[in-house]
Amino acid sequence: MKVMHSSFRFAAIVFLLTASAMPAAAQEREGAAVRALELKWTESYKLHQIDILSSLLADDFVITIEDGSIYSKAGYISHSADNSVHVEVAELSDLKVRMHGDTAVVTGAYHERGLSKGKSYEYHDRLTDVWMKSSGKWQVVASHYSVPVKQ
């Protein structure tokens, strides 16, 4: 009986620990999904894969880019499809994902280098991206990319 009791208690503890760990595990899984989507977004932007890009952006998406311009989804897609821009490097680093239920905030660094109308350009940015999960699908709702000023 005593053994039975201990087994039961052990099982109960394992169950409770598993149950309490589940939200953390789920958050980790969602965080990893959002990171993967960040990479997919960067790749589709670099390669002008407009259909993929479009599927990642919410309809009410808004982005503020390095020169302070603000684009809606349609504006950003047009900007990304511009054939006079050739993106050679588009890389993310130092990504941190903060989960708030169905909203995720991603901060990090971004490096872009390329040619615009034959003229070379290069940015070393900081970024904030906001993703939301709706009907089981993550989409980015807002982005801000800026070049740090020197103090």
């Binding site: 808004v62 503020t64 311009s69 603000i70 909203t103 800026s146």
Partner: protein
């Protein structure tokens, strides 16, 4: 049949109740605009308790120089006595509602002195607010100076 009809009606009522009305969204947007002003004022006047109450625990902010602060770091920074703010103003604020998450974009002007040295920023900003248990709190901010 009567049971099905009642269930269908109840489902409709629940579905309609779950959709935020345009009036509700408008009211939330007005609240958020007021909170943005309150935030800028609390930052300028160093009302640290008020500032802290407006920020979520997992708040993150990116500054003009690329520094990234947590809530604690930002509160410490805001309380720095060597910084004196003369102007902290938002303008051109747009609110986009996504249920309990709101995205605010706009322009921000800050002028002051840091360690006796004058400084001035003309930024673009993105603030992200989240409503939890009926209360809006800021979860993320990004302030950057546009490149020329």
């Amino acid at each position: 049949m009567r049971g099905y009809a009642r269930s269908a009606v109840m489902l409709c009522v629940l579905a309609i109740a779950a959709i935020p009305t345009a009036a509700q969204q408008e009211s939330d947007a007005a609240t958020l605009r007021a909170l943005e002003l309150k935030l800028a004022e609390a930052y300028k006047e160093r009302h640290i308790d008020l500032l802290a109450s407006m920020l979520a625990e997992d708040f993150v902010i990116t500054f003009e120089d690329g520094s990234v602060y947590s809530k604690t770091g930002y509160i410490s920074y805001s309380a720095t006595p060597s910084i004196r703010l003369d102007v902290a103003e938002t303008s051109d604020v747009k609110v986009r509602m996504h249920g309990n998450t709101a995205i605010l974009t706009g322009a921000y002007h800050e002028r002051g002195t840091s360690n006796g040295k004058p400084y001035e920023y003309h930024d673009r900003f993105t603030d992200v607010w989240l409503k939890t248990d009926g209360k809006w709190q800021l979860i993320a901010s990004h302030y950057g100076v546009p490149v020329k």
